[in-house]
C-alpha cells in the first residue's frame, strides 16, 4: 500500500498557503510539483560537484560526467530503452519535437508531403510541422474526433496517401486526459511503413511507457511534468533514426574533429547535444525518475485513475456541469465547463479558496475550435492529490457557481 502522507511530506510546496487556505494543486498537467529529493539533488550538485562535463581531466569534471551519464542510464531504464545512446537530453518536449521536425525536413520530408496529426494535438506538436508545411507546401492531415470525443481511428487509413511521411500524435490529450490507442495507430503505421512520433508529455507522468514494446520512431517528453525540473526533456530515437537523423542544431562538444571546412560528428546521443547541457537539470530528471520508481508507475496510474473516477462521479451529479471526453480510463486530467459561465470566472474564484486549476485553451486551440468552445476548466492530478482535496474542490465549486448566479 502507498503511504499518501509520507508522499505528501516529500513535497515542500504543499505547505504553502494561498489566500489563507491550504494549497490544492490541480494544475499538474501544466507542471507537476517537485519532491525534496529532486530539489536537493540539484542543490547538492551545485554544492559538491558542479563542473562542465565531457573531456575534463579533473576530478570534478569526471564526477559530473559520471553523474550525467548515469542519469542517462536511469532514465533509459525507466522507459525500457536498451541502448541508452538512443536517449537524448533536450531542453524540453517542445525542443525535442523541433529537433525531429528540423532533422526530418533535411532528410525525410519532401515538398508537398503530408503529415498526419490528431485533433488532440498540443500547439507544440502542431507548430513545428506547420512551420515546415508553410515553407514546403506540405499538408497537415488531421485525425477527426468522434461524437464521444475519442479519435476516429477508422479514418486514419483514409488519410494516408503515397505522400504521407509521418504520423505525429499525442499519447494522452493534455486537455481531455483521454489515452490514444497507440497500439492501433502503430499497427496502421507499420503496415504503411510510416514513422511515428509519439508525444509523451502527458503519458510519461501518469502511466507505464515501454519504448521497446511500443517500438515507435520518436518519443518525446518533459521532465517538469513528471516531478523533475524545468528546462530538460528527452528525445528517444529508434536505432535507425539515431544513425540517420541529420543534426539541425550544432556546436561544442558533439564532434570528433572540426576544421573551418569540415566536421566529423561524434557517435550516439552526443551528436544531438551541442553546447553545455542542462547538467543539473538532467541530474534532477533522473532523481524524479527514481522518485517515480520508488512508488511504481503502475501504482501511480491506478491511484490517479481512482481520483479521476471520483471527481467525474461528483461532477456528473451537478447538472450545470458539461464534461469533455468523459471516460474511466484517463491519465489524470478532467476538462469541464459550467453552463453559462466563463472558465476564467470559475478559475479566479477557485483560486481564492487556494485551489489551483487551469482555464483556457490549454494550448490546444484547434481542439477548442472542434468542440466549439473558448476554453475549459481543467483539473489534473498527481500522486500527492487526495480524495479529500477533490471533495473540498467540489464543495467550493458549488459555492463559486452560486456566487456567479
Amino acid at each position: 500500500m502507498m503511504d499518501l502522507i509520507k508522499i505528501r511530506e516529500q513535497f515542500p510546496i504543499l505547505n504553502q498557503k494561498i489566500n489563507n487556505c491550504d494549497l490544492i494543486y490541480f494544475d499538474n498537467a501544466a507542471t507537476s510539483q517537485k519532491p525534496i529529493s529532486v530539489i536537493e539533488s540539484i542543490s547538492d550538485f551545485y554544492k559538491k560537484s558542479n563542473s562542465n562535463i565531457h573531456r575534463g581531466v579533473h576530478s570534478l569534471s569526471r564526477s559530473a560526467s559520471e553523474q550525467f551519464e548515469l542519469a542517462r542510464k536511469t532514465v533509459a531504464n525507466h522507459f525500457n530503452i536498451d541502448n541508452e545512446q538512443q536517449l537524448i537530453f533536450t531542453a524540453g518536449c517542445t525542443d525535442s519535437i523541433n529537433i525531429v521536425a528540423q532533422g526530418l525536413a533535411k532528410f525525410h520530408l519532401q515538398k508537398e508531403d503530408e503529415i498526419i496529426l490528431s485533433t488532440y494535438e498540443h500547439h507544440s506538436n502542431i507548430l513545428p510541422w506547420q512551420l515546415w508545411a508553410k515553407e514546403n507546401k506540405g499538408v497537415l492531415k488531421i485525425i477527426p474526433l468522434l461524437a464521444n470525443q475519442n479519435l476516429d481511428y477508422d479514418s486514419i487509413e483514409k488519410l494516408i496517401t503515397h505522400k504521407t511521411k509521418l504520423i505525429a500524435i499525442t499519447h494522452v490529450s493534455n486537455t481531455l486526459g483521454l489515452i490514444t490507442d497507440i497500439e492501433r495507430i502503430i499497427s496502421i503505421a507499420k503496415k504503411h511503413q510510416l514513422p511515428i512520433l509519439l508525444d509523451g508529455a502527458q503519458s510519461a507522468p501518469h502511466m507505464p511507457v515501454d519504448l521497446k514494446k511500443l517500438d515507435v520512431d520518436f518519443f518525446v517528453c518533459s521532465a517538469h511534468k513528471l516531478y523533475g525540473p524545468t528546462g530538460v526533456g528527452l528525445l528517444y530515437l529508434s536505432q535507425k533514426w539515431l544513425d540517420k537523423l541529420p543534426v539541425s542544431k550544432s556546436g561544442g562538444g558533439i564532434i570528433k574533429s572540426v576544421s573551418f571546412e569540415n566536421t566529423e560528428y561524434a557517435d550516439g546521443a552526443l551528436r544531438f547535444e551541442p553546447g553545455t547541457p542542462n547538467i543539473s537539470g538532467v541530474i534532477g530528471f533522473s532523481n524524479a525518475i527514481k522518485f517515480i520508481n520508488n512508488i511504481g508507475i503502475t501504482t501511480i496510474f491506478e491511484f490517479e485513475k481512482k481520483l479521476v473516477q471520483h471527481a467525474q462521479k461528483k461532477l456528473r451529479e451537478m447538472p450545470e456541469i458539461i464534461m469533455y471526453g468523459e471516460s474511466d480510463e484517463k491519465a489524470g486530467v478532467i476538462s469541464f465547463n459550467v453552463k453559462n459561465h466563463h472558465p476564467f470566472d470559475i478559475g479566479t474564484l477557485l483560486d481564492n479558496y487556494g485551489i489551483a486549476v487551469r482555464t483556457g485553451h490549454h494550448c490546444t486551440q484547434p481542439l477548442m475550435q472542434d468542440l466549439k468552445i473558448q476554453g475549459t476548466v481543467r483539473i489534473s492530478f498527481a500522486i500527492y492529490n487526495t480524495i479529500e482535496e477533490i471533495n473540498y474542490f467540489i464543495e467550493k465549486l458549488k459555492k463559486v457557481i452560486k456566487m456567479l448566479q
Binding site: N19, H342, F344, D345, T359, G360, M403, L404
Partner: protein, 137 residues
C-alpha cells in the same frame, strides 16, 4: 464628480467588506451584471481587447468634451472590473483620464488583477481606455 472623488467613493464602498473576499467578488460580479451593455452592433473586432482568456469590447465616444465608455466582456469578473473602470473614467475629460493613476485598485485589495501577467489583462484594458482618450484630446 472628479476621478479622485469617485475613487474615494469606491474605496469606502469596499472598506465595508474588510478581508471578506467573497463579498468583494460578489460586489464586483453585481457591478458586472449591471454594466450598461454595449450596443450589439458595436461589438466588432476592432473594438476587442484581446486578453489571453476573456475578451473585452470597448467603445469610446466623445460627447460634450467628455469621454463616454461602454464595454462588455464574456467573463463576468472581467466585466465587473470594467464596470469599475467605466464608473471611474467615463464621463470625464480626456486629459484627466490620461493622467489617472488608477491606484485605487491596489487600495480596494484587487491588486492581483493589476499584475502584468494577469490572464485577463486589466492593465491592457486601462491602457486601451487611455489610448482612446488620448486620441480625442
Amino acid at each position: 464628480m472628479t476621478i479622485k472623488e469617485i475613487e474615494k467613493e469606491i474605496i469606502e464602498e469596499f472598506e465595508i467588506f474588510g478581508d471578506d473576499w467573497e463579498s468583494k467578488y460578489e460586489h464586483i460580479i453585481d457591478m458586472g451584471k449591471s454594466l450598461p451593455l454595449i450596443n450589439l452592433n458595436l461589438k466588432t473586432n476592432n473594438r476587442i481587447i484581446k486578453g489571453c482568456q476573456s475578451n473585452v469590447w470597448l467603445n469610446t465616444d466623445l460627447i460634450n468634451d467628455k469621454i463616454l465608455y461602454t464595454a462588455d466582456s464574456d467573463a463576468i469578473i472581467t466585466k465587473g472590473m470594467i464596470a469599475l473602470m467605466v464608473r471611474v473614467l467615463s464621463n470625464q475629460k480626456a486629459e484627466d483620464i490620461v493622467k489617472a493613476d488608477m491606484d485605487f485598485i491596489n487600495q480596494i485589495g484587487l491588486k492581483e488583477h493589476l499584475s502584468p501577467t494577469r490572464a485577463n489583462g486589466l492593465l491592457s484594458m486601462i491602457n486601451e481606455m487611455k489610448k482612446e482618450a488620448l486620441k480625442r484630446i
